[in-house]
């Protein structure tokens, strides 16, 4: 039985089990049909030209974990931003862990999607927002069909969330191979502020394939800073589908730090519906061995007087492969736009590969769109400069790579997180630099 067939038959069991009268019942049924007719994407599709899922799909994934596993906080403490107080929404093998979590309903909701789907008081919100910005492509539909658990965040207007929210999905290896479908719904009201950190972390050598969908709605003048930490084990793969709908004067930034994992595909989509929106997409990718990371971004400019800034840096060693496919779509009415896209890459090994493809579709005539892409090695002159100051070759390389990635870190607004990422980068490069990052 192929994975697709297994998923389709599991869906029937899932439907029975849920006895679902939730507001999304019909959506699920529609979504599984979409998945059934499209199946998993293949390399024949333009958007998947450089990323093949074939090898991953050969695993015999369990669609639902058979047993619940608990983990001790001390085992996983290091994956939390424990230096500061945070809200936490934590899942273990796809199941909510109240023990590891720290949620709230005090003037806002930072809790669980399963609760929001089952309780009547959330029904109007679910009906207004759920699956309203997500694309109906096959992977998103697959997630929608099995959508049951994930983070639910509702921040009412004028509320500034005082501490960051961590959304962490742990995988314990309770099955030999597991497929997870986390679903996050995040609504940030008018003039509200929030910072969110999302992480998928496997604790086991057993394979896991996560097909995650996150919908974010930023209302008027809302501020959202979203950080994705992708530093998983070589047994873990992630398909991240994130959709962001922005209303006027809102600012949303997404930083994606991709340092580990077998295969990562980031489908990051911004839709600017109101004027004066600002979308910020930043990424640092540092890969080695046979890792593969594919950044597929879309910024859809629909309203006038908006901005978007994309800055992705990649460092590729060994046989690693990277893809950057950045699409900027400018509608006829999106005049006076300022859109900027940059993708810079350094190949350290002769066997590493990067495919970088900017894609601009512009239907407005009064816009400023710029894009740039570079692929190179470390600058010889800069290496000589550092080495002539007594800094060894390895450290000089590290310093230059750090400098290369650094401007993406400048915009990280949580100092403790910035420090963490700095350390991750230093570890990843394998050098302890002679000063405090």
């Amino acid at each position: 039985m192929s994975l697709k067939e297994k998923i389709l038959s599991s869906y029937l069991a899932f439907e029975d089990y849920l006895e679902d009268d939730s507001p999304i019942h019909d959506l699920r049924n529609k979504a599984i049909k979409t998945f059934e007719s499209h199946g998993f994407p293949s390399k024949k599709e333009e958007a998947w030209k450089y990323t093949s899922l074939n090898a991953l799909l050969k695993e015999d994934y369990s669609i639902f974990p058979k047993k619940e596993t608990t983990i001790e906080f001390k085992e996983v403490r290091k994956y939390f931003l424990h230096e500061i107080d945070t809200f936490k929404i934590v899942f273990v093998d796809g199941v909510y862990s109240s023990f590891l979590s720290s949620t709230t309903h005090d003037g806002m909701d930072i809790c669980l999607l399963s609760a929001a789907l089952s309780k009547d008081k959330y029904k109007p919100v679910i009906e207004t927002y759920f699956n309203k910005v997500a694309k109906e492509d096959s992977l998103t539909s697959l997630n929608t069909a099995f959508a049951k658990e994930g983070a639910y965040i509702y921040i009412p207007k004028h509320k500034e969330v005082q501490k960051p929210v961590e959304i962490i999905n742990f995988y314990t290896g309770s099955e030999t191979a597991l497929m997870l479908q986390p679903r996050n719904l995040i609504i940030v009201g008018e003039n509200a502020h929030i910072q969110i950190i999302e992480r998928h972390q496997s604790l086991s050598e057993n394979a896991v394939l996560t097909n995650s969908v996150t919908e974010i709605f930023t209302e008027k003048r809302a501020f959202v800073d979203y950080y994705k930490i992708q530093n998983d084990l070589p047994s873990a793969s992630l398909i991240d589908n994130t959709y962001i709908k922005q209303e006027r004067d809102s600012v949303c930034s997404v930083h994606t730090f991709s340092f580990g994992g077998k295969l990562i595909r980031n489908n990051l989509n911004f839709y600017q519906y109101g004027e004066h929106c600002n979308s910020i997409l930043k990424g640092v990718t540092i890969l080695e061995q046979k890792q593969h990371v594919d950044h597929n971004t879309l910024v859809h400019h629909i309203a006038p007087n908006c901005e978007s800034h994309q800055d992705y840096k990649g460092i590729f060693d060994d046989n690693s492969t990277g893809v950057f496919n950045g699409k900027i779509l400018v509608e006829k009415d999106a005049q006076k736009l300022d859109a900027f896209q940059q993708n810079n890459n350094i190949l350290i090994s002769d066997k590493a590969t990067i495919n970088s493809k900017p894609q601009l579709e512009i239907f407005a005539d009064d816009v400023r769109c710029s894009h740039g892409c570079t692929i190179g090695q470390l600058d010889d002159e800069a290496m000589f400069y550092l080495r002539s100051r007594g800094i060894g070759e390895k450290e000089a390389r590290a310093l230059l790579m750090y400098a290369f990635a650094n401007n993406v870190l400048e915009s990280v607004k949580i100092p403790e997180l910035k420090k963490r990422i700095n350390k991750l980068i230093a570890n990843k490069i394998g050098v302890n630099l002679g000063f405090n990052l």
Binding site: F384, S388, R389, I391, G392, L399, A403, E410
Partner: protein, 250 residues
């Protein structure tokens, strides 16, 4: 201190240095002058160990030790310092962090502990004052957005911090106005002592009014064609290089 014997170097099979002989003793200042393309900067880079250049013949000795095969960082550890004509911009690494790294890496190579933080700070302050460098400047990213003069002053600040045995100043005067030139020259002079030496590479005699050389060498087509006292620099300033070309031909 430095003994260069019959040094030949090439880049991509093109000969640039064609038999340089130069001896620099402790406490001396040597000026190397010459027209564009004569090989001055190549000589500086070859002494500092840039691997773009291949030494095809001859040798470079530092305090009796052949350093020809050493990596640039190893030469730095032994006390060679090159002040770059075009210092490289390193975004995200501050002047302070850079110099701390350079000093501690050098100490590490010599088997010493890191310099204690207080001592480092004191030294940074002292050397920044010497070169009239503003405190704010030290927290800026290395060379990023620096003016030509700021870059050169920063090079000399690094020189002052590293306290090398042999300092090579590659056109440190270019891009400096007269006030900055005096500050830089004063900085270099304060660092001079009986145990170290300076090689000044320049087009112009101007800098040599402030860093007074014991010897002046003229480099042409990859060879030192004439050596003399500081008076030679004045002659070159006045008459250019043509008369030397004539001399060489004759």
């Amino acid at each position: 201190m430095l003994k260069i014997k019959n040094l030949h170097a090439s880049v991509e099979d093109k000969d640039i240095l064609k038999g340089i002989n130069l001896t620099v003793n402790p406490g001396e200042v040597h000026a190397i002058m010459g027209p564009n393309g004569s090989g001055k900067s190549t000589l500086a880079s070859v002494i500092a160990g840039k691997d773009e250049f291949e030494v095809t013949k001859g040798g470079i000795e530092l305090e009796g030790e052949d350093i020809k095969e050493l990596d640039p960082e190893e030469r730095a550890h032994k006390g060679v310092f090159l002040s770059f004509q075009y210092p490289v911009e390193i975004p995200g690494v501050s002047v302070t962090n850079f110099i701390k790294t350079a000093i501690n890496e050098t100490r590490k190579a010599k088997g010493q502990e890191d310099m204690p933080a207080a001592e480092m700070l004191k030294k940074i302050k002292e050397k920044a004052d010497l070169l009239e460098i503003d405190r704010k400047f030290l927290s800026r990213s290395l060379n990023e957005g620096f003016s030509g003069g700021e870059k050169k002053r920063n090079e000399i600040f690094q020189l002052a911090m590293m306290e090398p045995k042999l300092a090579i100043l590659d056109e440190t005067d270019s891009g400096l106005d007269i006030d900055a030139l005096k500050i830089v020259a004063n900085g270099v002079n304060k660092l001079r002592n009986a145990d170290n030496a300076v090689i000044v590479i320049t087009h112009y005699q101007r800098l040599l009014d402030y860093i007074v050389p014991d010897y002046v060498h003229v480099l042409m087509d990859g060879k030192i064609v004439k050596s003399g006292s500081k008076e030679l620099a004045y002659q070159l300033e006045e008459k250019g290089y043509d008369w030397i070309k004539e001399e060489v031909k004759a």
